[in-house]
Symmetry: C2
Subunit: 419 residues, 2 copies
Amino acid sequence: MTVKNAFYAQSGGVTAVINASACGVIETARQHPDKIGNVLAGKNGIIGALTEELIDTSQESDAAIAGLRSTPSGAFGSCRYKLKSLEANRREYERLIEVFKAHDIGYFFYNGGGDSADTCFKISQLSESLGYPLQAIHVPKTVDNDLPITDTCPGFGSVAKYIAVSALEASFDVRSMAKTSTKIFVLEVMGRHAGWIAAAGGLLEDHDIPVVVLFPEIEFEQEKFLANVKAKVEQYGFCTIVVSEGCHWPDGKFLAEQGTRDAFGHAQLGGAAPVVANMIKEALGYKFHWAVADYLQRAARHLASKTDVEQAYASGKAAVEYALAGHNSIMPTIVRTANSPYAWEIGKADLKDVANVEKFMPRDFISEDGYGITAACKEYLYPLIEGEDYPAYERGMPKYVTLKNILVPKRVATEFEVK
Amino acid sequence: MTVKNAFYAQSGGVTAVINASACGVIETARQHPDKIGNVLAGKNGIIGALTEELIDTSQESDAAIAGLRSTPSGAFGSCRYKLKSLEANRREYERLIEVFKAHDIGYFFYNGGGDSADTCFKISQLSESLGYPLQAIHVPKTVDNDLPITDTCPGFGSVAKYIAVSALEASFDVRSMAKTSTKIFVLEVMGRHAGWIAAAGGLLEDHDIPVVVLFPEIEFEQEKFLANVKAKVEQYGFCTIVVSEGCHWPDGKFLAEQGTRDAFGHAQLGGAAPVVANMIKEALGYKFHWAVADYLQRAARHLASKTDVEQAYASGKAAVEYALAGHNSIMPTIVRTANSPYAWEIGKADLKDVANVEKFMPRDFISEDGYGITAACKEYLYPLIEGEDYPAYERGMPKYVTLKNILVPKRVATEFEVK
């Protein structure tokens, strides 16, 4: 086996643990110098490959790479850039191959969600259609937990833990104030189409908190919702509402829609919480508070789930090991082998089965009335938020790593403009 | 010294560590059974004294009381209820004395902020004007950090830590995405009049994050602000903005004003972040994300500052010890005796000097341009966020305590209606 370099890139929205996957990839690659030369990371994701801005990770110390395990965000930069089909933009793929050839890259590790799995799948087909040998492995990452086949996606467990803990703490707060002041607390969480993150709010039921969860999978019905909130306030004196940013009216319009769209054409959301809070105030007169967690939830490495960190690292490690074992066009998966006590192992899925498939909450994970989660969902969720994995602190602040991110010299004569 | 019962109540917005002060009060009182009989806690704050709903803390186990140290919110319930002056509503004060007499209460511990210090001061005057011996001690608590004399207020250090860490994490996130996507992250934080919480965002400068802080102490100037943001994005590629809910235009109107007011007549705020984000989008075209932390910030016991927890406990403990030493009409204070290494001790302030005095950020803590903090401010802040004090976890969730909160039988024949 000849020595080849590897390319690694982070894609889409970053998470609290995507760098733990990067750590798994790079540390494992460093253990196989006989097969993998250098790991070149795409500066700002796949765009870095197109523009030949390749970060030389060999210039980062072992300590810095180890530090990635407990550093949130994407250490090499990420992007929301979806490659078109080979037919629609052949030039992009040819450019990638040109850059990979010039830097002797034989392994392509792409760390992202559903759109990235699709890109990775397309690239995995290149070696055939463009005649360049390349093993493309997708490393799963998404807070939305919407990738198929894998039991969970690295990134999700930590967000779920953050939302469950934060909503519990805020619920204790509103419970303290409810007699004479705030009776309603609304927390808006991420999740455009899949309600996995919102589902974490359903765990509050086990802590005697009256909670209403609004899922994107369930069409919003105003009268039914208000009646549910009213009943809870009358029984408990207060109510917490966890609303997914993807919660929508029967006509499909988001409660939160701001009217702007991102590069993938997805509506950019934010603002369901004040909509819901004001709706309750108007109909029922209850004083409210609301919060929009936004980036705080997916960046909250300070409260990461230990299970999630371990699975993120293991996914990166497995990607390299699968590549070295000769695999192509696959994604390492998390396979749950037991629930109690929880046990898991790494498996693999063919990218053709992963690309463009979105995993929603199964209906039997959502309670009959549509506002909570079932015992089956709780059994699914608890292991994923289990364990704490705190970063080190210095002067009261977490010691997060910022890499040097030094680029390797360019070898391709032509420039490439990313549009 | 005869044995007397003590009354304890939580007032105003609760915090991540007000229960640590309650723990300090109750544990210390339990160490002096020869002087303090039972600690009766006001159900939902001072209202519980007026309505004679007194929680019998002797029915809570030592373990439950110890658990308060790491439980956020107000375990006995709190309220935003300000007693009027003795002249304006003498009946309220007479009712309090009536209830205190009936339950043999000789100590009044009131745990709150500026409004509560005023109430406590008024009650401390009662023993003279109404002829009932009562020692009233105020236990400081406020996330706003706006009480005078004390170096800091228990509750503040934990919020400051939460905001600094959360803003750092979200800034790492936006830095990862900035090349092709989000360039602006706006975090709205609490602080109606004083910018102490927002100031914590200024610490990000020490982590190479371009940050603009918007204080309530500095009138908002749109053009100057936009120019500052633009310069930062051009230099760094992204910018984080930490905006206080109390940030206002030169005419005094809050950026965030929703039009509703709380029981103290304060405007209820929320929504400065989307205002600022959209203003930037419109003027400069940058893609943004925004978050409103709201209750999450003041309830975040999972990320409490160890310094803050210790000071909250020590304040509660000192209140009891001062009372036993014969003091009346005072508040324990935190006295900073050294900066490096940080050292502090408990002191005391006369309530007449505390009531109705609000401590704002000194101008020399805010940078010259009004958008950051000075070295003096950093030297002040760092010790307050120092150290972590994690709660215990079970099944991935913090083990927070919910008390039994059993009321003692009523002894006063008449009812009292709180309006």
